[in-house]
């Protein structure tokens, strides 16, 4: 990948990933308001806003982060399966994406109930679950950010073999 394109991909990846984390933090704040708020209107508004935030911001940024991460790793010497920190980030992002997409249904259900003023006690479990899951998602995204910044050492067996072959080619070429 050319240097200019690589910088563009990196900018897109950092922007979407950090934006995703910020949006999940907003979602968590709304989930706290939805669970602990005393004013009925504020509680219902929180759940309606959570649905909008999910579909308009979190899902697009999550998918953008995943796609730009794949482009970034495949288009640079880091590779997708050569370094453990890249593999770990990929697994965490894929898991977070799957969990997020699985939660769009209960989020929509709560927003629907809130808009119709039918938030009953039966939905309390889902409301608690969304709060816990949002906190867990924020933690997972924080771990992914730490991995991206620190890039801890560690080559996978595949990456090790690739490095060995590259070394051999250099030796043959040089000798």
């Amino acid at each position: 990948m050319r240097a200019g394109l690589r910088r563009l991909a990196l900018t897109a990846h950092v922007t979407s990933s950090v934006g995703w984390m910020g949006a999940v933090a907003c979602f968590l704040a709304l989930a706290v308001v939805g669970l602990t708020g005393r004013e009925d209107q504020a509680v219902r508004a929180a759940y309606v806003a959570m649905k909008t935030t999910t579909w308009a911001v979190i899902v697009p940024l999550c998918l953008a982060s995943l796609v730009t991460g794949l482009v970034e790793s495949l288009g640079t010497p880091w590779g997708l399966f050569r370094h453990y920190w890249v593999v770990a980030k990929l697994v965490l992002t894929a898991l977070a994406t799957a969990v997020l997409l699985a939660h769009t249904q209960p989020i929509g259900l709560l927003a629907h109930a809130a808009a119709r003023a039918t938030l009953t006690g039966d939905l309390h479990g889902i409301r608690v679950q969304l709060l816990v899951d949002a906190a867990a998602a924020l933690f997972v995204l924080l771990v992914a950010t730490v991995l991206a910044v620190y890039k801890p050492r560690g080559t996978t067996p595949y990456g090790w073999r690739m490095d060995e072959r590259a070394g051999e080619r250099r030796r043959i070429g040089g000798g």
Partner: protein, 57 residues
Amino acid sequence: MADSPAYPGTPRWVKVLGLISLALVVVFVAVHLAGGGFRHHGHRGAQALGGAEKAGN
């Protein structure tokens, strides 16, 4: 010709992160299955919605 160095093995941080992640996934799945997680969201939610809407009508 010198032998190529042996693979140094998986770093400790990968093992620790893997174990923590595995534990979190197990807890997450157990909580959802036991406490009416997303497998039950639709069913329970629909019941809650239906009950409330009927009460409101």
